[in-house]
């Protein structure tokens, strides 16, 4: 595909990732030519929002796509590969964990474009700031995915499959577990009728500090000060033994990390 050419994409899936990818494509020079999905309600909603052709029948897939881009549940790939109608197409998925060889029975041109972000349908974000990580062993697929990535985001790179799986794991800590801590913090505050609004500036600032610095440099709180008295008080205030254990482990992580640094 030449640099000045367009890129026709068929999106397969109707979930959070497809919602964001589709929106990003419609704002870019990428042609979203069709959306496929099995969930008819979600499929119709997306198609109506975007005014693009849609189908729930794999036999009606457009043969014109430069890239068939899948964002399905990790467990759904085996089944869809057994009934996909084309051979030797460029096929890519968006998962952090599914092998890049998942399409190998159908094509040599398989790969992954992994958008490293937390996506919620209906919650828009600046897609050009989403790192797009490309993992493929096929040069033709790589060329197409790099072209697509460059049109959708200013941050894109090639990574290995091992790196992609590790990145996914690190994202669970940076995002999913962080959000779980926000939920816990909210519950702890609400036990004493404190509004979550009080916590929002703190959450925003904690994330802002590491946009220009490393988290190690920005650590504050009783653990980094080794303030045994407060740590003891805090563990007493917590009721759930599992949350006490969580407090212990994270406090030890902070103390250990400070020791390794010094």
């Amino acid at each position: 595909m030449q640099k000045n050419k367009n890129c026709n994409v068929v999106l397969l899936g109707t979930g959070n990732v497809v919602w964001h990818l589709g929106h990003a494509m419609l704002k870019s020079q990428i042609s979203l030519i069709q959306v496929y999905g099995r969930n008819k309600t979600q499929l119709t909603a997306l198609a109506n929002e975007w005014h693009v052709p849609f189908t729930d029948n794999l036999n009606c897939l457009s043969p014109e796509a430069d890239i068939y881009l899948f964002a399905l549940k990790d467990g759904a790939y085996q089944e869809i590969c057994s009934v996909f109608p084309f051979r030797n197409a460029c096929m890519a998925h968006t998962s952090g964990n599914v092998d890049n060889s998942v399409f190998q029975s159908l094509t040599r041109h398989g790969g992954v474009i992994y958008p490293f972000q937390t996506f919620t349908k209906g919650f828009p974000l600046a897609f050009h700031e989403v790192p797009l990580c490309i993992d493929t062993n096929d040069p033709e697929c790589e060329g197409k995915l790099l072209f697509l990535a460059g049109k959708l985001s200013r941050i894109f790179c090639k990574i290995s499959s091992i790196q992609r799986k590790q990145l996914h794991l690190s994202g669970v800590f940076a995002c999913n577990f962080t959000n779980a801590l926000y939920t816990l913090a909210q519950k702890i505050a609400e036990e004493k009728e404190l509004d979550f609004n009080l916590l929002r500036p703190l959450i925003a600032e904690t994330a802002r500090k590491v946009q220009t610095h490393f988290p190690e440099e920005m650590q504050t709180g009783p653990a980094i000060r080794n303030d045994i008295e407060i740590i003891k008080n805090h563990i007493e205030l917590l009721k759930d033994p599992q949350i006490k254990e969580l407090y212990h482990i994270l406090t030890e992580c902070i103390i250990k990390n400070a020791k390794n640094k010094s």
Copy 2:
């Protein structure tokens, strides 16, 4: 103190909180008339930066302050109270944990103005977005602290001592432990030569999502999808038994929380 009057403040301390409070005062209509500190290097640095009088001798404290505002280490209050030169002044500290009665041997007008934020010296922030929580049993002190708070921030409220201590605890989860997770995420990424820059947009977005929504609504990842396969893979990828345990606990928190909701 009338609403249209100025407010003279003496700041006691030279740490992160004082650095931010002082900057906020210099931008406001509050008069920072003096800074006291025991650490001469830090004290001189602050005084030179701000061009305000300073002293390391409590006997040279200005008697003109409407509020003596302390931001010391939690353990330092007892000692300073034993040598503080004035009686019945308005005295307030900024700690999440120190009792609001800590000044009671010196004054009836003691209290707390707790800025609920993570402060790092030299890392500026929008102080008018910092929630200032006022905890005092004295009406005169309350009036002065509310006046001060209203000049420094658009977010201020009265809270009880029990609420303040609980808020501090919730902040440890929302900020200090969250930052510890960022550090872990960085280490996990760097094990496979992945740059922390890849994680920054994810961290920013995770915090941004809860500025307008509750974290429960924004939870993503393998735990909330109950994706046993990935969870198993992830725990295998982790080497440190304590981090494995951390993964377990946070995954269970997310699953339990989803069950309680549905």
